[in-house]
Amino acid sequence: MIYQVTHRTTFDYTQPVAISHHVLRLVFRNHPRQHSLRSSLTIDPSPSVRSDGKDYFGNPLTHLTIETPHAALVVETQTTVDVEKPEPIHLDQSLPWDQMTDQLQGATDDEMLDAQQFLYDSPYVTIDDDTYDFVLECFPPGRPILAGIMDLTSRIYRDFTYEGGVTDVSTPVKDVLMTRKGVCQDFAHLAIAALRSLGLPARYISGYLLTHPPEGQEKLVGADASHAWLSAWCPSLGWIDFDPTNNCIPSDEHITLAWGRDYGDVSPINGFMIGGGLHTPTVSVDVSPVSLPSII
């Protein structure tokens, strides 16, 4: 499936900004099922210093400094990306979850070392006894890892209420567990904390989702949004995505932007400024499937 994704963020400041520094993670990363065909990142006003590189987790990263006084900042990415469907997954044919720790013990190959970066507490994902007790119900002894994770995914979908505005990026996992309310990133953080408490590697994915307008209505341009889900690692199968917000295993309608231990590692725009007063960011995202001929 090929998409055209437009992501535009506008900051309007009440006072001019004298100087600002930003770190952007808005350029799509590639992975075996996903390739960017064309991508552009435009910044207005144009920065005096800009450098593009990759962060520790391999996500494309842009540093910039804007030294011209400005009252608004617009950052826009336009990406044409090709996403393939994953191979069919047989949940019951994965390793029993309680053998994972032994598998990882003493492992030194690149893949297993990499997986272990996503096994511990991280700034936004704190593991405690409550998450452990919560997840244990989905993982009776000997249960195949993926079956357990799918069960956890469904359980979050079923027992938690999707509600915007009650949480923010810094809401701790234990609060989400208690109130049973939140948005996609809270559910992803919770599932990640739960899996890590069992010794299962899990990472946070930020990206986009193709939305379908209600039957008979036209899709509104710019009404899509960023999305977040998780990925879990399983020996011999590698990383498998799960989306607790939509109770599914992501296929070719989920487009990956970046991954990390939690939201903090992939936050799309970080910035500091001198001056500026108050500000309000406005975000508009548009995900549209394109037919192949139009881009050739």
Binding site: T9, F11, I19, S20, H21, H22, V23, S48, V49, S51, D55, Y56, F57, H63, T65, E67, G106, T108, D110, L113, Q116, Q117, L119, Y120, D121, P123, I127, D129, Y132, Y162, G164, T167, D168, V169, V183, C184, Q185, S206, L209, T211, A225, S226, H227, A228, T245, G264, D265, S267, P268, I269, N270, G271, F272, M273, I274, G275, G276, H279, P281, V283
Partner: protein, 863 residues
Amino acid sequence: MDSLMPSFASESPDSSILAPMNYPPQPDTFDELIGQDGSVRTHWQGFLKGFSALDDTDRQAARETAERLLKDDGVTYLAGQDGQQSDRPWQLDLLPLLISQEEWTQLEAGLIQRARLLNHILSDLYGPQQLLKNGTLPPAVVFGNPQFLQPCHNVPVQGGTYLHFLAFDVARAPDGQWWVLRDRTEAPTGAGFALENRIIASRALPDLFDETGVQRLSSFFQTFSHNFLEFSQRDDPLAVVLSPGPQNVGYFEHAYLSRYLGYPVVEGSDMTVRDDRLFLKTVDGLKPVDLVLRRLYSDLCDPLELSTESALGIPGLLQSIRAGHVTMGNALGSGLVDSEVLLSFLPTLSQFFFSEGLKIPSVATWWCGQAQERAYVLENMKRLMIRQVLTPQRNLSQRRLSSFGPDLTARDEQELRQAIIRRGHEYVGREIVSPSTTPFWGGGDQLRPVPMTLRLYLTATKDGYTVMPGGLARVSVQSDPRGHWHEPGDFSKDTWVKSGPFDHQPVVAPAHHTLALRRGGRDLPSRTADNLFWLGRYIERAEAAIRLLRSLFLRTSGEAGLSDEPETLSRLVSLLVMQKHLSPRRAKRAVKGGADMVEAELRTILFDPDSPDGLATILQNVRRTAELVRHRLSQDTWNILIELTSVPKDWARTKGQRMDDALRLLSRMIQHLAAVNGMVMENMTRSYAWRFLEMGRRLERVRHLSKLIRHLASRGTPEETGALNLLLELADSSITYRTRYRAEAKLAAVLDLLLADETNPRSMIFQLHTFETHMNDLPHEETAASLNPAQKIITRVCTDIRLTDMIQMAELAKDSKVRASLVRLLKEIDQGVYQLSEIVAQTYFSHSLAQRISGPQWLEGIP
């Protein structure tokens, strides 16, 4: 008598201080002073002989010297917490710890090996991570450690030196072997205190110090600075001490190191990153910074890429490090090898890197991230100290970190057991240490053995590391030395490492950086300028308050005694209200109560250290701002300021509340102030720093003079009520007036002298001119021929003063109670002062804090 212990039980009764019965070494413990056979260890003998020869007077003198030095230097450990001023005096036991040269040589070799090892480990983990790929270290040690900062991976580090300045906490086991308890690699504290201890101990016991033959500390700091500066490519590099600020517990030491090394102490908001270069904001614009001695936790240093919550860092710092423009000491992320998790791996790592064993072992530690070790800890919990490691540094205070096995209740043990089973990698079990004991004196008649640990410091050199020949010994006087000991000590000691006959090391002169002659101190950080400006204002404010109080006290007693005449009373009281010493309500009550009541209020203002409106508060402001700019003041100026600000505190203790006491107290403070003025005028170089201090003083003096004139001369007939004499006295212009007019004070003449007389150094116009001269000498943007805003204000105000007809202004119009033209002129002056203060702040004090630009607060997922 055994010749090996000449100082024991000698003839003099004074030496009973050292009688063995009074110094019982503990069984199964190594004692630093007394050997196994009960004799004094060789390296203590000379010292002990000298020490026991001190009589009561000598000891008393030593104690007093130490107390005075501690006070003079304002040594405090805890600066204000939560805005509260709760400084705790530094506790020093004058009797040093002695270490023999042979033993020191061994310790040195072991610590240097360890420092090199830790540097190698950092270099690998922030680079190729071979140690993980070849299985030498389990990944949890790195990936589970919050002090592994991912953004710092592959950040270039000048010369591969991650650790420029580090410390080790060591203790001695019962068999005499030294053990390392902790590695301190982030931003180790205490080196400044070690230096201060040395200065005090060597001055309090000068003869003993000289006779003992002690290795000097100062060359260590020179070695550090020399090597650190070498890391910059530039010829004349700028190095700074990055501190979290005066609210931090360690600020005293940050400022101390800054003075000693000659690097300015700065906060994050004093710096900015432009074009991937780090700059210091100075009154002369941005100056590139080459080297940062970091006293701030790594993850707080760059809110853009590290902890985004930090308001203490510099956005963009990491990028400037990547660009190779700035060297951090220690490198960001160095805390990774601070972790106790590493301790049990160090012998293997030492083999791996050096093909040799560790020269100094670590305290026995079992990391529960490994099955076997976990099983051992669970089995032996009651005999171990269980420590939670792998917790972010900045969260340390929020969690209970250490559990002492023998003290665990059954329930705690159960909980801990559970936690270790679930999250073993976060815990270590550590052997309970019973460290060696060393004599504690405490200034009394007796020595007693107390448990001790020692913090030793190292600095990177071109080809390895150098150890500071000395260190911070810490003893615990409260705990029973036989009991278990697990907290850092409450007293510190100087550590004397004995020197050999050939130990004289010449001071190495920097080779690479040639000395560039400089004048004028151009790198004045704008925050320091701000503080100097306010120090000037506060000193002047204090002087005004003290003069006022003295004049009022004089009028309450003796020949000029205060009558109950209501007008005089209310005028005095209104001045107190003007100076904010009294609220209008209390003032009204005091006037009603008559002379006695007014006197009582005066005494509270003067003597009550807790009265928020009293003199103590004004002096506290002087003290606080002086501390912030101490590195810009000479030691003598500082000493006088400390004397000045502690006068009321000292007097409050004596409860001397007689009138005469009050007057003597006030006169003494005026003398101190005169001394400060003398120091500032005669001894401070005419740098920007001096100009800001002066500008603050001048503006404050104008402000105060304007208030005095309004209160004492704008109404009624001040000639008759004595107000005019009081005004002249408060403006310190009585003598000038008398020599000039040789007559009773007349209002018009007084106004001329105080407002317009350019030759009177106390006049309004004199202050404004002086202010202008300073302002003109500060760096400013070259503009056209026209006056700049500050010059315009000063010119306008001065012209208006000059154009005023004083005789006319002194007259009181019929049916009018107020001299309206005078009030108008004073108002214009006040406004001018306010505007000038604003202009100075806007032009030179630009340490505004960068604020975070938050993106969308939550993601709008699609349910």
